[in-house]
Amino acid sequence: MSIERNVAVVTPWYPDAQRPYRGSFVQAMAAAVAPGLDRLDIYHLDGWAVSPEPARLRRVRDLHTQLLPRAMKAAEAVGGASLYRFPAIVERSRDHAVHARRYAEWLGVALDGRRIEADVIHAHVPMLGGYAALEHCRSGAKVYTTEHSSFLPEVLSQASSRELYDEILHRSAGSFVVGAPLHDLIAEVFPHHAAKIQYIANPIDFTAGREQAPRDLRRWLSVAGLVERKRIDYLLQAFAECHAEDGTLTLTLAGEGVLRAALVKLAEELGISEAVSFIGSVDPGDIPALMADHDLLVHTSRHETFGVVVVEAIAAGIPVLVTRSGGSDQVLAGIEEDAGRLVDVVDDPGAFADAFRDLRERHPGKTDLGRAREHLRAKYSYEAVADHHHRIWFGAAA
């Protein structure tokens, strides 16, 4: 007799009409794991901040309690999954434990007293998806969590959140992270759970890609938000230095952010406006083609939980020139020379420019993108990531 494979995903991030790219890695994970499952239900709890004024808050909560069960209908999602999307009302608060408890509470209201039916629940972001899943799983169900949050240090700096996070780790059947920085942080704060924290990858599309590696690294591409952490100002300065030596170089900046106007101005001041294109946000589905249309991925982030763009670039068949931001180092471990070049996170843009000169000398003779691609495909392709999840959920027989 075969046992049904019913899985639920609980997540605070999932693409929607307002933010079509937010949580696209959760959508990719769902698309990867859906084949081979009998049923996949996705619960997307979207945080809505409301006034903390007690009298109003009470009335808003009463109204939401009345409306939520009426609104709970499944929409069609990737891989034939059912998507249940609803707002989790949270009074404006900096206390992450408050957010966690509210998410759990509203999932309970949405389920109208029932439990999540699946035997396996995989929750994204332990504090939000994880705690909600643990509070509403049925007896005997296994709850796994994956941590992606770049704001985890702030969460764990709060005593109440730390205590709740400890409880979540304790109650979860398995706890996963997408990169070494998150692993190290959790292991440091909760040494008693260190052995429980394992790696899991976000799936990357390896089906498309350039047939030939680029010959000359002239067309640079950055896929990153225009925010301080990504250090696009530093990238522009490094690019300006290289552009002064080779006027045929171009730089495409894919991404949006609060620094856009300041960065456009900086490009003007550096005299590289004509060589730099700000193309705004790009649909995740269009990223592989965009990458394949360039010669080099450049990434100057200070800190990353996972080097997703690095994997995407190599999957698309272009080398990378990236900073040691945590996630990138881990992704390129053992294939750094083949895939491109890593650069230390330093303030001097000249270091990045020097690294470019070095890579340009080595490429393509002393790089091996094919080998790097196959190395990463074994870890990050949809098939590999699906197989990993299925083995975690259903054992070696999966």
Partner: protein
């Protein structure tokens, strides 16, 4: 069906544009009550077939009396600034900081609360006026502010018309709209 989208703060413009277009293309009549904002910025993608009631509540702001502005803000702070240019810089800065904290900030808070009250009154007035002659089959509560304002009229509306569909987005349900 008659759909009414409520977006009084216009905090999810992109979603509203996408979902209202989707609803129109599904053959529904769509009315949107939304904040226009400055020169309707961000609303460029709205489908012209959507009937819109612009709220223009953001044009309203609470004001304080000129006498209060002079006596509580300009005069004391100007005086302290002038004193701060001389040898009394430290004590003057200290007093100015305290004045800001104990006098100016509470006044600012009062102004903000007054502005919120004015705007909410306008928003509610317009929504209620529309609901006087509009009988939506389906209400889409698009954003947190719609829910916060909804406490003033939604419970009564649903008690009167319990068959009204209410959702937080317009997304095609599995099995079509009948599944709702």
């Amino acid at each position: 069906m008659n759909l009414l989208f409520l977006a009084p703060a216009a905090s999810r413009k992109r979603a509203v544009a996408v979902e209202t277009r989707r609803a129109v293309e599904d053959g529904h009549r769509v009315v949107l009550i939304a904040e226009a904002g400055i020169r309707r910025q961000g609303w460029e993608d709205l489908d012209p077939r959507v009937e819109v009631d612009w709220l223009d509540a953001n044009t309203l702001s609470a004001t304080e009396s000129p006498a209060l502005a002079v006596l509580a803000r300009r005069l004391p702070l100007g005086l302290l600034r002038r004193l701060g240019r001389g040898p009394l810089r430290r004590p003057a800065d200290k007093v100015a900081r305290r004045w800001e904290r104990w006098v100016v900030q509470p006044l600012d808070r009062r102004l903000r609360a007054g502005t919120t009250a004015l705007r909410e009154a306008r928003q509610l007035e317009r929504i209620r006026a529309r609901l006087e002659y509009e009988t939506p089959d389906w209400l889409v509560v698009c954003e947190p502010k719609a829910l916060e304002l909804g406490i003033e009229f939604l419970p009564a509306l649903l008690a009167e018309r319990p068959g009204t569909i209410t959702t937080y987005a317009y997304e095609p349900a599995r099995g079509g709209d009948d599944a709702r």
